[in-house]
Symmetry: C2
Subunit: 418 residues, 2 copies
Amino acid sequence: MNQEQYVIGKATLAKEASRKMAITDTVIKNKALIAMADALIEKKDIILDANSKDMENGKNKGLSNALLDRLLLDEKRIHSMAEGLRQVAGADDPIGETIKMWKRPNNLQIGQIRVPLGVIGIIYEARPNVTVDAAALCIKSGNAVILRGGSEAINSNTTISKIISAAAENAGLPQGCINFIETTDRDAVNIMMKLNGYIDVLIPRGGAGLINTVVKNATVPVIETGVGNCHIFVDTSADFDNAVDIVINSKTQRPAVCNAMETLLVHKDVAQEFLPKLAKKLNSIGVEMHGCHSTQNIIKNVKPAVEEDWSTEYLDLILAIKVVGSIDEALEHIYKYGTKHSECILTNNYLNSQRFLKEVDAAAVYVNASTRFTDGGEFGFGAEIGISTQKLHARGPMGLKELTTTKYIIYGEGQIRS
Amino acid sequence: MNQEQYVIGKATLAKEASRKMAITDTVIKNKALIAMADALIEKKDIILDANSKDMENGKNKGLSNALLDRLLLDEKRIHSMAEGLRQVAGADDPIGETIKMWKRPNNLQIGQIRVPLGVIGIIYEARPNVTVDAAALCIKSGNAVILRGGSEAINSNTTISKIISAAAENAGLPQGCINFIETTDRDAVNIMMKLNGYIDVLIPRGGAGLINTVVKNATVPVIETGVGNCHIFVDTSADFDNAVDIVINSKTQRPAVCNAMETLLVHKDVAQEFLPKLAKKLNSIGVEMHGCHSTQNIIKNVKPAVEEDWSTEYLDLILAIKVVGSIDEALEHIYKYGTKHSECILTNNYLNSQRFLKEVDAAAVYVNASTRFTDGGEFGFGAEIGISTQKLHARGPMGLKELTTTKYIIYGEGQIRS
């Protein structure tokens, strides 16, 4: 069997399963999610075995420590995956909600109701917990799912997906509701991207390279996730102590994620006073600074920023700093270099706060809070499948509701159109 | 200047304009829409002149009468375009709506607000009124628009777009808010499809060929519109007189549109009684029937249906008819051949009506009403930009709200993530 037949075989199973998933009761879906959690705990030794093969292969291939850490599973992480499944079981079922219903002058009663998307494809990289998280969210929202994980985690993912799909099917979900592509052949991704008629939406989760490949080549609808070149603008009226805390939190609390800040913009009237306070803290944490001319004149230990710095998502303990003449210059900089993810103003000026909220075009626009809050959990959505940085369908953190679509149902009494 | 420079030039103007459009007051947008309506009436002679050139070229090229009729403008049609603009001016502005706002335990106040998509590209075919309708909806929803019409209407469209964009700009809208691609070179379409970073969404309006080309080749997000292989299932308990009316209305009231019915499914237990009643009416209107074996045995004047009939969107006075053994067989037929547009059951059986509404996966699912109601105007949305047959972002008739996206705004008090 060649790659194409293999992937289409999985997709056919998923498509058939999606019809049944759409009309599966909430009770059964929740029972399945809990059975999946139990199965992970029960079979944790098999999972740890498979994971140790991936870890060994990874070490032999010379993967970085950061990547190896993402790949690693231990008892605690398996328990945390199971806990995630139980949380999704406890969340409200989005399917069947009547969003609105109204009557037309001719007495047609029209309702818009929430239904599953159908078959969701997820293409992701190293972390094996995505296999569980993504499957849980897709199932709870009444979809079937086709998962394609990174080659580094192939043993862990194959084992995990077998365990959870068997548990799901035993608990009453249709065969083929969870499908994992058990091959590291890159052709599988190319085939998935063109499976119109089988896959209703494809969600790439990972680095900019993966996301661009999918956006450029997919013919099935895609939800773009993740790239975040996020800014904080420190206005003249900002509370400096608080501003230092927010900048440090946004940059250093978890630098490798998309909602971490990458460039700091500081109003020229307060740069002289604010930057030294901030630099002290940045230096103590070991954050490398790349600054504009003015920044270099005010604080030491700053590498000269080059044009490329303004558009780089470092995902690391590096911060670009630019002194700007006005809020207008800050807005222009964000317009030019931002990726429409998360942007923040620190200010006590009412008009400036409102202008920033109105004029910045991004998934999340903040006044006086850390950009790190752009997250499904922090927004109160429960689990999250990713953060959409596109404008169609979903924008910002995506929870269960974003994995659904709607349909109109029309109750008639024999009406015809004149 | 080559095609690429030309199209990117237009797109750059549109992108700049979209920033200003997003923060333009409703009053100015409405003033502009009314000025556009006035300008169409005032300059109707210039438009009719341009249109007569298109009509002459069309006749010389041997366009069909149906196509020539779509292309034709007269005083009445120009007045109707102007009236459409006034109606959009009177509609509620979707921009700025707070969809929801909530407080998190840490006191972050998070709001989801409605904002424009940015730059919308519309690729369409013969009818010049789309130039006006699409521009109106895009502007009212705070977007800039790039229009690409069919080559047959190039003179009409160029003239109309110049008139309305001049009127819009004079009334205070930013330069470049309405852009028309004044070339019939097909490369322009290919370039538009790949303008990531300029065009936020591309909406093809027209036949299956155009839509497939855009879906397969675009790297910018697309909203797929239009193809409708719609079914009506006549159940045993249907009211036959009413069923005849609904079938006739769905098939013949305007056969060339996507919400017209293409295949009739009739339950075997009532076929003998129902089909002759219906055939009488179909024959009197001159509808050609392609039927299955059973159909041919019951009524005369029926061509044998071949496999292809079940998947054909005739868009003409032709009807495929199949006798089915049960509601299950009807559901299977619709699943196999339907395009998820509009599907209908005629029944007086409660369980069957609920099952059909639940199990059929389509943009609009009807009980006891004509499929012709799948339309923005008939649903009460005011004007319509098209009917989405995809599941992402918008499904079914798309009005002003479907031309928007959302952003999250977050009011903080210095919160950091722990």
